[in-house]
């Protein structure tokens, strides 16, 4: 007998588990099929920001979609806590981008103005702060800090606990997590539905949701979907746990709820190479110590790198296959920020009538607009 489910979610990272727990919450018998520990997982190496301020240049809808998720986040965190007993430590006090010179501040302010001036861009409240304003929030800033961009909507979580909580809630809702199930083949069944193969193993499901991060690139064409995603490496550092000294997250610097100060995170085209290197780590640590000189005395205890799941334009892809109805693709590069929207908005669409117009902007047809010559 082949195991059968209503829905199979391929990939058990932040995206797959958020969608999976949402589907299980809609009463669907849901399985998450996940590769083994060799998998490249952004979900374990990210920077944990729930972030709005700089997003949406080139696609206004991405900003408003991000904001929808940010609004859903408090309820989402509360339901995770209630169902899993895990506090993901959501804090949304507003966040900053610090500038280390007047020129950088002007550049960043101009970028924010350009972002807001795009046709169809839902107005975003942000503030440009000068040094003296900033010193009231961060008395310890270094002499080079000229000012900052502040946006009230920004925040952060403990993303490892988020990842764990999503798995626990998925299981509590009756979901089946199938580890070491590296999907090799997806085929359509004659009477509808899909058969999913991994070596000798096989399951069947009425619907299939691709949420395999970088793995989507290989799986998507099997069911008429289009996932041009590539790895984009990011490196980060974390210090020993120190007493609270950063009240707000900064886009490249945040203090976790447990006290470690994270510094990040680079963007490097490095294929599947997950190495770390002193050059980039050193540059990031140096920038952090110029922002807060006292950080220079704190010990770094770990460094790592992880691979982002990146599309050409940096925006998510949500797609329902026309060739193979019932097959969906969900992938993005801000899976922490969008977790609430994935669980509370995208999953109900998949369980219901399919993706609505609200997600139309994220269809991969946008990659096939003929280039103007």
């Amino acid at each position: 007998m082949v195991e059968t489910y209503d829905v199979a979610v391929l990939g058990g990272g932040l995206v797959g588990t958020a969608i999976g727990l949402g589907l299980a919450g809609q009463g669907l018998r849901t399985a998450i099929l996940d590769e083994g520990d060799v998998a490249h997982r952004a979900s374990r190496g990210n920077f944990a920001l729930v972030w709005v301020q700089s997003k949406g240049m080139g696609m206004p809808r991405y900003s408003s979609w991000t904001r929808e998720s940010v609004r859903l986040w408090p309820d989402y965190a509360a339901s995770l806590r209630e169902e899993s007993g895990i506090d993901v430590s959501l804090h949304q006090p507003g966040g900053f981008t610090l500038a280390l010179s007047e020129g950088e501040l002007e550049r960043r302010a101009a970028n924010m103005a350009r972002l807001n001036a795009q046709p169809g861009f839902e107005h975003l409240d942000y503030e440009v702060w000068d040094r003296s304003q900033l010193r009231q929030v961060f008395p310890e800033i270094g002499p080079e800090v000229a000012g900052a961009i502040f946006c009230r909507l920004d925040g952060h979580v403990n993303s490892l606990r988020l990842f764990r909580a999503q798995h626990v809630v998925f299981a509590r809702r009756g979901g089946a997590y199938l580890p070491n199930f590296q999907v090799q083949e997806i085929s359509r069944l004659p009477g509808g539905g899909f058969r999913i193969l991994s070596g000798e193993r096989c399951i069947e499901a009425g619907q299939v949701v691709l949420a395999a991060g970088i793995g989507n690139a290989r799986l998507a064409p099997m069911v008429g979907l289009d996932a041009p995603v590539r790895p984009l490496r990011g490196q980060a550092l974390v210090t020993e746990k120190v007493a609270p000294f950063l009240s707000h997250p900064i886009v490249t610097l945040r203090q976790t709820d447990e006290g470690g100060v994270m510094m990040g995170d680079s963007q490097e085209e490095a294929g599947f190479d997950e190495a770390t290197g002193l050059g980039i780590l050193g540059a990031m640590a140096d920038r952090a110590a110029r922002m807060f000189p006292k950080l220079g005395q704190v010990n770094i205890v770990r460094t790592w790198s992880a691979l982002r799941v990146m599309t050409k334009d940096g925006f998510p892809i949500y797609q329902h296959s026309e060739a193979a109805p019932g097959a969906f693709l969900t992938t993005c590069h801000s899976g922490v920020t969008l977790a609430a929207a994935h669980a509370l908005a995208v999953a109900p669409m998949i369980a219901g009538e399919g993706l609505t117009d609200a997600l139309d902007a994220f269809h991969p047809r946008r990659f096939h607009v003929p280039a103007a010559s």
Binding site: E140, E240, K241, V242, G259, F292, K294, Q297, V298
Partner: protein
């Protein structure tokens, strides 16, 4: 309870080192690490952990476990087992998280 070996305990043959421990005068011997001196004084906890605050003391004595953290001369989170005791040193319990700049 740790005890010095009889040889090592022969105070007459070793140079005493005076330091302060949490503000009180204390004594060890030349050649002691901070962690060894604390253990010999019967102080088998030297810090509280950063999250739960549970007590910890020197364990591996060779720099790998980080359970011997103390504040030395005003610098937090130093590994007591890797620092030699010096005359006049100011050693304090590491109470939970280190403070930035201390």
């Amino acid at each position: 309870m740790f005890q010095r070996l009889p040889d090592a305990d022969d105070a007459a043959r070793r140079t005493g080192i005076r330091f302060t421990l949490d503000g009180l005068p204390a004594q060890g011997f030349a050649g002691d690490t901070v962690a060894a001196a604390l253990l010999a004084l019967g102080r088998d906890t030297c810090r509280q952990t950063a999250i739960s605050g549970s007590p910890r003391g020197p364990y591996c004595m060779m720099g790998v476990c980080f359970d011997c953290l103390v504040v030395i001369d005003g610098v937090g989170n130093r590994q007591g087992c890797l620092v030699r005791l010096r005359e006049g040193m100011v050693v304090e319990t590491q109470a939970g998280k280190r403070e930035v700049g201390r």
